[in-house]
Point group: D2
Chain length 342, copies 4
């Protein structure tokens, strides 16, 4: 399984091609669109997302509602949301680094592709991955657990009152907030990923995929940073034999040992930086002159929307690992093979 | 650039093949061995490492002290350090998951390859990557910043007294400790990695490589988890034009924006879990019977040794990104091309 | 550089995403369309191609007529050319093997993706690769050299009278013809591809790409099959020093030695089988009952159209090899680096 | 599955690491050595091969005679066969192109890695692939079918008298010969490879691997070049339903349709150029001065030895395709999954 995405923030459309999926996977377009809607309708988003509701179009690879095994092309048309041009390098954005790398005259050209807008198509592809995982009884979820100083656990469409208040306060002062997201994978059997080569370790693969989400600046597995102060004897996930199978008394490790899933739930925590789009910050323009940033985009925090993206990214990465392990030309084969695992 | 490693903890030797390096890179074998020695001689390691000093042998790809462009094979012979067999599943190790995956009868067979012993050969390959980076003026460093409750910053061979005391206390009680490591990359110009496709983002690539180090459970870039509570206006890395070039007033972001190096130092923080090898933990044996873990290996904390491994892993991952961007058949070409960057 | 294509023969559109091209490459849409037109307007094609003229649309990755470094999405809309359903397994087509592999009930479902229709989008992407190569002074050409028993060398739009006669005769009898194509690469400097690892050999890479074109059944380099009877002394490409550089007195080897371009023209010869779409052949239907094939598609020979596809496929494969060697974020860098080669 | 090889012709040893094989595959070292011996003991080889009998050593990845799933390292020590230095560019060898690419001062340095010596380790890895395929009932064979003007079909150790005579005559005159090899794969079920993306087509993959064998200059599938003159109606592989399954009345296509195995035997034909190592050819030396080639190596024809290499290369490429399709952590799983195919 492999995939590529294309498309700019203010281009005609976003496109994704995913290749290597089996035939016979039922594709539910309304599930994709519902996931896209969740990504857009969360609290604290600026005006753009409300104006241009995302709708996925399947352009190939599906016949009679099921995949054929051929590459699946998915598109999301961009609405007419006005131009994205600006002439200053925004701190925390790709603007400067992209201009250096690609020789852009204009600070905004890199932003067209670096924009979180790209995550819409990744979400659509991730939604397909979730459907495949769902057929195996595997679910991937992501919930917001912190927005600014408000700590809670809530799904992206139902932020706690504390979180909303944080967002409102920051938004009124023209500021932005970071936060945390918990990504959980349930129903994954033991034996996925591998210790035999470092680049096949499930923790490394998932961490790489999750860190590649815009604004994510930390990725933790299980106890994560809290392992630093713990004693080994306090955080051992003791094995016991219970009702005919081996289980754990705890899951500090987050479901991965030696780079392989151990049958417990997988648990990742992501930290997001505050969205760096803030007006009035001192910076330089494309001519190297000091200036202030203007307002480019209006979200206060990426946490709720990034929950959806993290769910998608984790699903895609996991799906790839599972298909490497199971192979399979048809969904039926894959289900049969997964059923015999563990 | 690509590489594979092979070899078991108690096998004949560890082997690595690295392919895709340019010709004309000077290989300093004593630098490799000195890095291997650092990995072994750190405080808090058990008896094995002192008995079997690691020495790298270059078996191909180098002529007259310089690379030829052909694959470089590196080997490290294993000393005769006794067998590694045991019959219980150790919590926090690959034992159980590997047995399920590969159908092993014996809990110890997975450990042969999952053992941190493999990181010796990754260190040797990483040392070669460091030599290439060094030719471009890029350095990669890793220092211990926390062991248990002792917080300090020190290189792996010179732990602070506090850290040593933590290790001694834990060791005497048969317990183990986690901690933190800071990985820094200096001298890297702006423009490496890319925002144009998620899997080319430098932060994702480095995070994936670092999370794939045994015992690493969290990877942070820049401020990392501390971004969660920060306001956007507080953590913006303001751009200014100074002495003819654009620089930053701060580096909260850790040197990467939009997945591309921005010319500032790259800063990652890793959290390690306590080494899970503890005697006397309740567990089950290969027959599913309750038992206690025996003592398998003697280190108290992985922090100092993992500094060396993290330095190697980061160097390898970065080297791959740089060679993707620069191409190059000869070291001379690569230096010339890097010189023109930025 | 990497790319994926998607789309079915009778689907909405064909799509391709190419990722990893530099910024600053001028994209000439009319050149793409002209190449698509050549692929369609050749002698001996059936009715479909004339009804639905292919037009490429660039949907991302290009701004102001130049690439930005972001993934380029290209689409070709399918005209309404009627359905492609049939219920018999055609010899020489993917029908049976695809049905077994993907569990299709219908013999025509595999054909939707295996159809030479897919080569239209590969041609569009190849046209972009040709533009990049053109900037380096490298040209890739493909000419028909045999159709049935008519042997000549002619470009795909100007078949010789003998060839046309062969096509007319075969067409009238409802039969089809194979033939040969010569693929030539000029202007490529010495040093591309590598002997150091088998999968980096330029001959293997090009042969793999060219054999993956529908109907191609043989790939030869230089003298190809005629090497079998030759003596070593007769086919040595003698080196001489002339006007300050080393050149050859002959080019039996086809421009590649040890898997590396040697500065001479690259020469491949492809053999195509007759198009297997013939009506009235005995076969079986999806129920396993004996039946006869019906008419599905109307071309007599693939030779002229496949010239265009071979040109595209060779250009894409070569472009990938060159970018691996040169790296490069901008077209300017790539030109500078290529200029210093050899 | 992936693998890397390393080692020079006159270096210490050849090394290969193969990663991604399942656990539980029985490794028969004497089969590897017997394949290595066949590669060496064929008719028409020079003195080197007789002096240094190749013996494989398994250095990792195997326990108790079976694979563990960990990377398998294989080594073949080089005997002391004298130096390989020379100072002239040999036509038909990598010497000139490698010197240009890697900046070598010496014409012989490229030859150290480009030498057919490397195929010994590829043979050893291929032998392991053959064992895996053998467990699935798949065999890969290669026989010489032409040496110079002598046409026959014989296994590499039992050349026909005509072939030997050709070799003797050429050898006495200091000349060399090319020839042809037939590679056959039996027992492969329908459904391997895929039409859905060009780079997954089995014919392209095998052709790429076979063309990457030193001296191979043409690769044909099925009728190959003879398709050029054939009519479609003459070469259709008619499907019939017989004894409960669909079979073919002929196999002109060589067992692959639309890039997928169709259940018939796979048949490839390779053409090898004469070994280009001939003394007394005019050429230039490293200073650009005209000179004559000296004698570097003594084989008259590569055909018999290349049979073994082709068998190995085809087995490795096929094994990779099969494992992509079947996945599988253990040999037992793979056998079960293959059994359910078709």
């Amino acid at each position: 399984m492999r995939y590529l995405t294309a498309g700019e923030s203010h281009g005609e459309e976003l496109l994704g091609i995913i290749e290597g999926l089996p035939s016979g996977l039922e594709i539910n377009l309304s599930k994709i669109n519902s996931m896209l809607a969740t990504r857009q309708q969360v609290y604290g988003r600026g005006s753009r997302s409300s104006l241009c509701p995302d709708t996925a179009e399947i352009r190939s690879g599906v016949y009679g509602g099921k995949t054929t095994g051929a590459p699946i092309a998915v598109a999301i048309k961009n609405g007419s949301c006005g131009a994205g041009e600006f002439d200053f390098f925004r701190p925390g954005h790709v603007d400067y680094a992209a201009a250096v790398k690609y020789g852009y005259d204009s600070p905004w050209l890199g932003a067209e592709r670096a924009s979180a807008r790209e995550t819409a198509i990744r979400t659509a592809l991730g939604s397909i991955a979730l459907m495949l995982l769902g057929q195996l009884g595997i679910t991937v979820n992501a919930t917001g657990t912190q927005v600014g100083n408000a700590v809670d656990e809530c799904n992206p469409l139902e932020l706690s009152e504390d979180m909303k208040r944080e967002i409102d306060v920051a938004g009124r002062s023209g500021d932005t907030l970071g936060g945390k997201i918990k990504v959980s994978i349930s129903g994954l059997k033991a034996g996925f990923g591998s210790h035999v080569h470092f680049d096949r370790r499930l923790d490394g693969i998932l961490a790489g995929a999750l860190m590649a989400i815009p604004s994510v600046k930390a990725v933790e597995v299980g106890l994560g940073v809290d392992f630093a102060c713990a004693k080994g004897s306090e955080v051992a996930d003791i094995l016991i034999y219970q009702n005919g199978k081996i289980v754990r008394k705890s899951n500090f490790g987050g479901g991965i040992e030696g780079g392989i899933s151990n049958g417990e739930s997988i648990a990742f925590t992501l930290t997001l930086k505050p969205i760096p789009s803030i007006a009035g910050l001192p910076t330089v323009d494309s001519g190297g002159n000091a200036c202030l940033t203007g307002k480019v985009r209006g979200d206060v925090t990426a946490v709720p929307a990034a929950c959806v993206v993290a769910q998608a990214a984790a699903a895609l990465a996991l799906c790839e690992v599972i298909l490497d392990c199971l192979g399979g030309d048809t969904m039926e084969e894959i289900k049969d093979r997964y059923g015999k695992k563990g």
